[in-house]
Each structure stands twice: as structure tokens, then as C-alpha cells.
């Protein structure tokens, strides 16, 4: 199997490195440097060699390395003193390990008994025995779980070894009470039930009698227990124990075998509620129990109280689980596909789009007139290709709900921590967006909401004083706008404290002492690198990560961030994100006869140079005046150091929008047209270039670079500053 060969190759490479490291370490140890660091490094290296060897079944190497490792373990914790004799034994053993590795690599056998003498020395040094697990246990083994079997073992066996008459399945009664520790280790009763359900039919009953009154409710307390009856013809006590393997000691559990005692007439197995419906039933209680994860609103604990809790949050949907189970019962409705495979399809569709547009370009009037069938065929091809492209993109698209759904809990926690009253409203959760974009969205959104809750929303008293309602509102919305998705976090809080922001920015050198800024520029400072009011404020937003992280994360996926704030009325932070990361709508331009593409989403307008109103600042750089506003000018030819037309006649200005409404005007030689391109990463294939977001292949097969407007602006700024 070639995979295995690949892994072996990796392993042997790694062994070579580890062996040379071991050589160095032992040389130093021989010189008398016997610190804990060296001993730990040596132990780890041998341990790694052993770990890999066991995966490939190099048993001679595993046995020797294991014995050696045991000695090293004794040495590092001082049970065996590291005298010169032990050092020389170790150095010799290291050579033996190298020999074993070499033999495994070349596939040759060493003499049986090679290294046996050293192993004997290890054992005598370590007190006559390997106190670690014997070698057989390297196989995956089963660790018994301490469970109480209410019934004698023979009964359990009887239920299985002698198959019950007819089809009567085995029946088990399991009572289960988790301890808080179970939740602290991220185990979840619901998952255990799911696992049990894979063994057979289960019926779960939740015991909520111990639920205290809301006033006495301890958020991290655990108040629920369950009894589960399992009907299964394949389960045995071992399989049931294995389900609870990871929660051993973290729960009280009793498993009772009922055998096939219940007559089918009394209880029709077919009438058992399906697991799907049980999940729905169990869920609210499960969530309450999960208060161990500080996840649940106490009021959610009882289905009856469910509605009481609802106003602050949209109803928690039974996540993934329920849906999946339902899907299963209706037959396969979804399949799990490796993202790489989807990406490959996306890429190939991209190439197809390019080929298709290349073919269309080749059709001149002459050909059109002569081959009408071909023309019609090409039109259909164009249509189908576009349809294919949309469908493929739809595969990668997911509702933003998957990210939004984490936010109610966050807001609840923030409200508790800050002592504020906050209501979260969510709009447009079903807006779909590319999976890779979604994955990058969680952290920025979390941070923005933290920021709103912490700095935006005021304390209840302050709100009342300002004539607002006691409860602050954070509105999280998503909508599609053309080729973009707009996601906004809006609050009705106090707005950005511009004086304070400016003061902090001046303190940190983000803004020069004499620099004058507009309100909007001040608001956008919160995204500036190096600006974080972290230490100044609280433990919520201030985790040492500033809002600049939001900006850089969003920029990474081709989006932009914008903030607008009205003092006393609130702040709106919006993210503009591309629908997909794979295909980009662009304007194709040429600079000194080289093609470049500019993302269409960033273009505001284009102007002929002859008609543009340029001005110059004292430093000599040009500015463009557009409707009374001055915009920085970047001549792409100059910027990229390529020859260009001597004068501006016939050249064009492309006015682009960079982050936060700031604009930049790019000067190009020619505007060729609009098209879609497939983005190819420069970093992956070459290296990062400032001002260039990537590359693409055009219809005629030539390569064009994608302009990174934001990047150009920054480099331009820096130059000006210097």
C-alpha cells in the first residue's frame, strides 16, 4: 500500500533526525551535562521512535526501544542514578536503536537476541522488572469500567451465550447519574445515549426531580439523571461498558441485564419511540444538565419552563444530531465529502469557465457565419458551464446559522459577566455563504459581539439615565448584496467614545500628535494594528487581542470591515464578505501591455485620465479630486516599476474603495473588460507580494496578477510617510 510506504518514508526521515539529535544529546551528557532538559529530550526521542515503530510492527525495535525508554524514565525521575556506567550503557543502546532502525529500513533481520544483553542490564538497573505495561498491551486493548452489575455475571452471560428463543432481543436497564466532572471533560450524556442507540433500541427517561428552584439553581450544578432501557440483540455487557468507558469515575452507573424476561405481548418493541423522537424529548433536559458547560439557561431545564427563557434567544434548534438522525431514517440524504474533493471540482469548473470563454473569444464573424451549429453549441456550453459553476458553489455554501448559533450563549455569558441586560436579535441566519468563509467568521464575530457587549451597551442604570430601555440590544444580521455577503453587528449602546479612542491612539503612536482625523477615521481606528484598549477596560474584550485581529481575519478572506457610530445611539460594525473564495468577478486592465485584474467589488468608477482632476501635494505625489474629496493616486506602472506611456493621454483612472470607505485611485493604461477569474494563490506557488492578492489564468492562457487594493494603499501610505 503506497500510503503505508509514504508513512514509512516519513518515519525513517524522522528517525534520522531523532537519532542525530540523540547523538548530540548523549555527547553532551557524556561531557557531564546531565540536566533534566537533556534527559527529557532523550526520553522523548526514544519514545517517538518506539511509537512509530509500533505502528509499522517493527517488533524488535519496539521491544528494545521500550526497554530503553523504561530505563530512561527511571533515570530522569532519579530512580536510577546517572553514573558513568549508565551513560555508556545509554550510548551503546543508542547505537543499537540506530541498528534496529537501519535494519527496519532495509528490511533485514538482526540476529535474534541482538540487544538482549543491554535489555537485561536495563531490567537489573530498574529493579528487575519492567513496571510499565508488557508489550502485548501495545495493541488496542479494553479497559474495564467500574460498573455495578446488579445481576450476577452468569445471568448476563446467559442472556447472550444462549441465544434467546425466537427473535426476542436482550434487554438491559441502565441507570446513569453524571458527576460535574463528566461535563468538565467535555463528555455529554446525549452522546452516550446516541452511542447506546447504535447498539439497539433505547428508551430514555430523564429524572429531573432534583432540580432546585430557579433561585437555588447552581449554574455548574448537575441535577439530572437518566434511566435507559436498551433492547438489543447484539449488545453484550462489554459493549455497554465500552460506551461508558470515557466517563468511568465521572458518574454513577448501574447496568442490569433483564434478559428476555419481558413478554413481547406486554410491550411491543415496535412501539418503542424511535431515537429521533427521543432526542427531541431529551434535548431540553440534556441542555440543562450541560449547565456544567455553562451552556444552559437554567430556565431551559424543564420543557415547561422553556418558553420563559425564550425571549433572550431564538429557540435552540436541536443541533446536527436530530437532523442527521432524521435523515438516516428517510434514507441517505446527505453524504460526507472531503473538502479537497469539492475544491478539486471547483477548480476544474473554474478551468472549464476559462476554456469556455477562450473558445467564445476565438469565434470571429467569419467562423460564426460558417458554423452556426457550433455557435449554438457554444452558447449552450456557456449556459451549462455557468449553471455548473453555480451548483458547485452551492455545494460549498452553508447557512451562516452554524456560526450565528454560537452567539446567544456568548451574549448570555457576557451579560452575566458584565451585569448588563442584553438581548440578541438575529436576522438572516439562513443566508448562505462559502464554507471556508464561514469557518473564518466565528472569531471575528465573537470579537465584535464581545466588543459591543463590553464597550457598546451601557449598564442598566446608565441606560435608564439616558432615557433608553434597560435592556440593550445587539442585532446580528446577514444578507446577500450582489456578489457579497453583508454581516453586521449593531448595538444601541453609547457609541464609540471618540475622544478616548483618539487619546489612546495618540498614546500608542497609532496617530501622530498633530494629525487631524475625521469622526469616521477615528471610529475606524479601533481596527488599527497596535490599537487595543485591552488593558484599559475589562477581562472580556481585553484578552490581549485587539479588533485589528478582526480586520486581518476578514481581509484574509477578501472581505472588508466598516464601522459607523453615533454617540449615544449605538455602533454598527459591518463585514463585507465575498460569496465565495474561489471565483472572483474582476475588471481586466492592462499596464505596460501586461494584464492585471482588479476585483470588481472594490471598483467604484472609472474615469479617463484626460477628464480627471488631478492635484499635487507639496511632496510631489498626485491626488485625485473627486466631487470635492481628495483621493490618493497610485500609478500601477510606477508602483510595479514597469515602463509606461510617457503621458496620461488615453490612460484611465480606476477609482477603488479600500477598507472603511477610504478610496484609492489606480492609474492603468487600458481597460479591457469584465470577466470572472479563478484565483490562484501566489503564496502557495511563489511568494507573497505586497499589493498583489494572487494570480489567475486568462482565457488566452496568459497569467494576470490580481491587484490587492488595500495592500497598495498601505504601501503607498508608507512611502508617503517616509
Amino acid at each position: 500500500m503506497s500510503d503505508l510506504d509514504d508513512f514509512k518514508a516519513t518515519y525513517f526521515d524522522e528517525c534520522s533526525e531523532l537519532l542525530s539529535e540523540l547523538e548530540e544529546q548523549f555527547a553532551a551528557i557524556d561531557e557531564g551535562e546531565r540536566g533534566a532538559d537533556r534527559l527529557n529530550a532523550v526520553f522523548r526521542a526514544i519514545h517517538s521512535i518506539k511509537g512509530g515503530a509500533s505502528a509499522f510492527g517493527f517488533s524488535g525495535l519496539v521491544s528494545f526501544a521500550h526497554a530503553f525508554e523504561t530505563l530512561l524514565d527511571h533515570v530522569r525521575d532519579g530512580r536510577v542514578p546517572l553514573g558513568d556506567d549508565v551513560v555508556s550503557l545509554c550510548i551503546r543502546s543508542n547505537d543499537i536503536v540506530a541498528d534496529f532502525v537501519a535494519a527496519a529500513r532495509s528490511g533485514t533481520e538482526l540476529d535474534p537476541g541482538y540487544g538482549a544483553e543491554e535489555i537485561a542490564r536495563f531490567e537489573s538497573l530498574c529493579g528487575g522488572g519492567d513496571d510499565d505495561a508488557p508489550m502485548e498491551e501495545f495493541d488496542i486493548e479494553f479497559t474495564p469500567v467500574a460498573v455495578v452489575l446488579d445481576q450476577a455475571d452468569d445471568d448476563v452471560l446467559d442472556a447472550f451465550e444462549a441465544p434467546p428463543l425466537g427473535d426476542t432481543p436482550g434487554r438491559w436497564e441502565i441507570s446513569f447519574r453524571p458527576h460535574p466532572a463528566l461535563y468538565e471533560r467535555a463528555n455529554d450524556p446525549l452522546l452516550l445515549f446516541r452511542e447506546l442507540a447504535s447498539l439497539g433500541e433505547i428508551e430514555v427517561q430523564a429524572h429531573v426531580e432534583d432540580l432546585p428552584l430557579l433561585a437555588d439553581f447552581e449554574p455548574f450544578g448537575v441535577y439530572c439523571s437518566w434511566s435507559i432501557s436498551l433492547t438489543s440483540d447484539k449488545a453484550d455487557s462489554e459493549a455497554i461498558r465500552e460506551v461508558f468507558e470515557f466517563v468511568e469515575g465521572d458518574c454513577d452507573i448501574a447496568i442490569t441485564a433483564l434478559g428476555a424476561a419481558v413478554a413481547p405481548a406486554e410491550e411491543e418493541p415496535l412501539d418503542f419511540p424511535s431515537f429521533d423522537s427521543l432526542v427531541a424529548e431529551v434535548k431540553p433536559v440534556g441542555v440543562a444538565a450541560a449547565a456544567g458547560d455553562s451552556e444552559a439557561d437554567p430556565a431551559l431545564a424543564e420543557p415547561a419552563a422553556h418558553k420563559v427563557a425564550a425571549p433572550t434567544t431564538p429557540e435552540p434548534e436541536a443541533p446536527g444530531m436530530g437532523g442527521q438522525a432524521a435523515g438516516r431514517s428517510l434514507g441517505m440524504q446527505s453524504i460526507r465529502v472531503d473538502l479537497d474533493k469539492v475544491d478539486r471540482v471547483v477548480n476544474m469548473v473554474g478551468e472549464l469557465v476559462i476554456t469556455q470563454s477562450m473558445l467564445t473569444q476565438q469565434m470571429d464573424e467569419n467562423l460564426r457565419a460558417r458554423y452556426q451549429e457550433l455557435v449554438r453549441g457554444l452558447e449552450v456550453l456557456a449556459q451549462t458551464t455557468r449553471g455548473l459553476q453555480d451548483s458547485v458553489m452551492a455545494i460549498r455554501a452553508q447557512p451562516v446559522k452554524s456560526v450565528f448559533s454560537r452567539m446567544p450563549r456568548l451574549v448570555r455569558e457576557l451579560a452575566t459577566k458584565t451585569g448588563k441586560k442584553i438581548r440578541l436579535e438575529m436576522i438572516g441566519e439562513n443566508t448562505e455563504i462559502d464554507k471556508t468563509v464561514i469557518e473564518q467568521l466565528s472569531d471575528p464575530l465573537t470579537h465584535m459581539i464581545r466588543n459591543s457587549a463590553d464597550h457598546g451597551i451601557e449598564s442598566p442604570a446608565a441606560r435608564l439615565a439616558a432615557g433608553k430601555s434597560e435592556t440593550g440590544v445587539i442585532r446580528l444580521s446577514a444578507e446577500q448584496a450582489g456578489g457579497n455577503i453583508l454581516i453586521a453587528v449593531e448595538d444601541d449602546g453609547c457609541g464609540i467614545n471618540r475622544a478616548r479612542v483618539l487619546e489612546v491612539a495618540r498614546d500608542r503612536g497609532v496617530v501622530g500628535p498633530d494629525q487631524q482625523l475625521t469622526d469616521e477615521q477615528i471610529d475606524n481606528l479601533i481596527f488599527a494594528p497596535g490599537f487595543s484598549t485591552a488593558e484599559a477596560v475589562s477581562d472580556i474584550s481585553g484578552r490581549g487581542v485587539g479588533m485589528d485581529v478582526v480586520l486581518s481575519n476578514i481581509k484574509k478572506i477578501g472581505g472588508s470591515v466598516h464601522v459607523r457610530s453615533t454617540p449615544g445611539q449605538g455602533t454598527r460594525m459591518s463585514l463585507r464578505l465575498p460569496l465565495t473564495l474561489a471565483v472572483l468577478d474582476v475588471m481586466l486592465v492592462s499596464v505596460a501591455n501586461c494584464p492585471y485584474v482588479i476585483p470588481l467589488s472594490s471598483i467604484v468608477e472609472t474615469i479617463q485620465c484626460a477628464r480627471a482632476d488631478f492635484g499635487r501635494v507639496p511632496s510631489g505625489s498626485r491626488l485625485l479630486q473627486v466631487r470635492g474629496e481628495y483621493v490618493q493616486v497610485v500609478d500601477l506602472a510606477e508602483r510595479f516599476g514597469i515602463a509606461h506611456k510617457a503621458d496620461d493621454s488615453g490612460r484611465f483612472v480606476v477609482l477603488c474603495e479600500a477598507d472603511g470607505n477610504s478610496r484609492v485611485a489606480l492609474i492603468v493604461d487600458e481597460i479591457i473588460g469584465q470577466q470572472q477569474v479563478v484565483i490562484k494563490s501566489l503564496e502557495e506557488n511563489f511568494e507573497r507580494i505586497e499589493g498583489i492578492a494572487g494570480g489567475t489564468i486568462l482565457g488566452d492562457g496568459s497569467v494576470a496578477l490580481i491587484i490587492d487594493v488595500q495592500g497598495l494603499r498601505f504601501t503607498g501610505n508608507r512611502k508617503n510617510a517616509a
Partner: protein, 119 residues
């Protein structure tokens, strides 16, 4: 589903990557606990699989830090280890580990254990 694998052995990382990506997981990698923590600062994952013996920051310390961060209480963390002694597992669990996998792992077993602890 995204999984973060933390191991100082490239071999083990490669084998995990192969097994997990064939099963449809997106795999992130880190070669020690500190790097694992760095990954968790910027990436969200559905499950973590970590080795115990690693340089810089070992698996136990890593788990403790993840749980202490206050953001990952319900993140399942599996301890991947050749240590068959109960002691390491107990240490891992005391630090907040959800379950364990014994190296060398059987691919099917690995996936089934993961499926046991993720939502």
C-alpha cells in the same frame, strides 16, 4: 468537521492526517502543546487529538491550558498515547481530557472513538 492534531512526531501527524481526511475531517496540525494553543487562538475546531510526550509543552499541560482558557470547556479532547499505564490516562483526564486513543491506532477505531465524543 475540523480536528486539531497535536503531536511532535511527523509520522503520527501524517498517519492521523491520512486517516482523518479520508474520513472527511479537515485536519489542522501542531507539533507541540504551545503551537496547539496558538492554533486554538485563531481557529475553531470541533475536536482535538493530542499526544502526551512532547517538547516545549506536553499534552497534559496543553489540555490544562485549553480548559483554563475559559473558551473551550465543551471541546472534546482525546489523548493519543502509547502509554498503556493507567497513570498517564488519569493525568490526562484529570487535566480535562475527554477520552483516549492508544497508539498504534486502528483507523476504524480512531474514527469510531471520535464519533463517540463529537456532536
Amino acid at each position: 468537521m475540523r480536528v486539531l492534531t497535536v503531536d511532535d512526531s511527523r509520522t503520527i501527524l501524517a498517519m492521523l492526517h491520512h486517516t482523518l481526511s479520508s474520513a472527511g475531517f479537515e485536519v489542522l496540525q501542531a507539533e507541540d502543546g504551545q503551537k496547539g494553543l496558538d492554533v486554538l487562538k485563531t481557529e475553531s475546531v470541533d475536536i482535538v487529538i493530542t499526544d502526551v510526550n512532547m517538547p516545549v509543552m506536553d499534552g497534559i499541560e496543553f489540555i490544562r491550558n485549553v480548559r483554563a482558557s475559559g473558551q473551550h470547556q465543551s471541546l472534546p479532547i482525546l489523548i493519543l498515547t502509547t502509554e498503556t499505564s493507567q497513570e498517564k490516562r488519569d493525568l490526562g483526564r484529570a487535566a480535562g481530557g475527554t477520552g483516549w486513543i492508544v497508539k498504534p491506532f486502528d483507523p476504524e477505531k480512531l474514527i469510531s472513538v471520535i464519533n463517540r465524543v463529537i456532536h
